[in-house]
Symmetry: C2
Subunit: 161 residues, 2 copies
């Protein structure tokens, strides 16, 4: 099934005049942009920028030791910006901030209605995933990251909606 799906999807790549994807046969669907994640070197300063300069509602800082980050959620009308600050010695964003001391956009997270089917599908299209199986992400839902080299330099997170 996965292979047949992959073939259908790859077939559409070969038809550049197709404007809209016909996903009626797809067993999963892409949904909302759940969040944009921004790695920041100073969480208080970054929180103040969004809260006090831009006037957004922001959450308290939420330590997520199992993910190696402390997060502040910035609420926009239709989605969230998540500020990520390193927590612990093996934080996954420590290296990012070493390369970009000012901070920067770290990843985007898009929702899917079936993470397993989505993972099978992207792999069949030769998009590499980071890890063998979906793991429980920062929101308590299964997530999978896709390799930036296969996504136009963007670290893409897919999250079960």
């Amino acid at each position: 099934m996965a292979f047949r799906l992959a073939s259908n999807r790859l077939l559409r790549i070969a038809v550049p005049t197709t404007r809209f994807a016909s996903d009626k046969a797809a067993p999963w669907r892409l949904g909302r942009l759940n969040h944009v994640a921004v790695a920041v070197p100073d969480l208080q300063k970054a929180t103040a920028f969004y809260r006090d300069v831009l006037g957004a509602n922001v959450s308290d800082a939420v330590p997520l030791p199992e993910h190696g980050v402390t997060t502040v959620f910035v609420e926009l009308d239709n989605t969230k910006i998540e500020l990520l600050y390193p927590l612990g010695e093996k934080s996954p964003i420590a290296g990012f901030l070493k390369n970009k001391p000012d901070g920067g956009m770290h990843h985007i997270c898009m929702e899917v209605d079936d993470i397993q089917a989505a993972v099978e599908s992207v792999r069949a299209a030769n998009v590499r995933t980071l890890g063998a199986e979906p793991k429980i992400g920062a929101h308590g839902k299964p997530v999978m990251f896709l390799h930036p080299k296969d996504c136009d330099g963007v670290l893409v997170e897919l999250e079960q909606a």
Copy 2:
């Protein structure tokens, strides 16, 4: 007025226990995330990724010579991803792609209901703007970019809603 607003906003920075911004007195309001912009080195390949691998609806490629880019709009349920590809000799994203040949996240665009008031306000908070006055952006509406060094390494575009 602008100065008093700035004082109020800066005052809130000094009160870290404030969880939510009180923007009742603010003459402008932050709204939706309009789009995430991704600079890509291969527009057809990037379009195929979002359309054929992820199953998103995508627009035709739209050349915007006055902005030095060709754009493809990727529709998510709640916002857009905009794929940017250099157009012309003075494209503003050519340098970005030289530094990041795989592509990458270029900027985020958030909507405001009063671009002039927003610009006065962020400047009063010592956030630098790129340019003296708002210009007409890719959607035909006034926009202003904020300096990444003042926004946690993120190039932020504010757009009149």
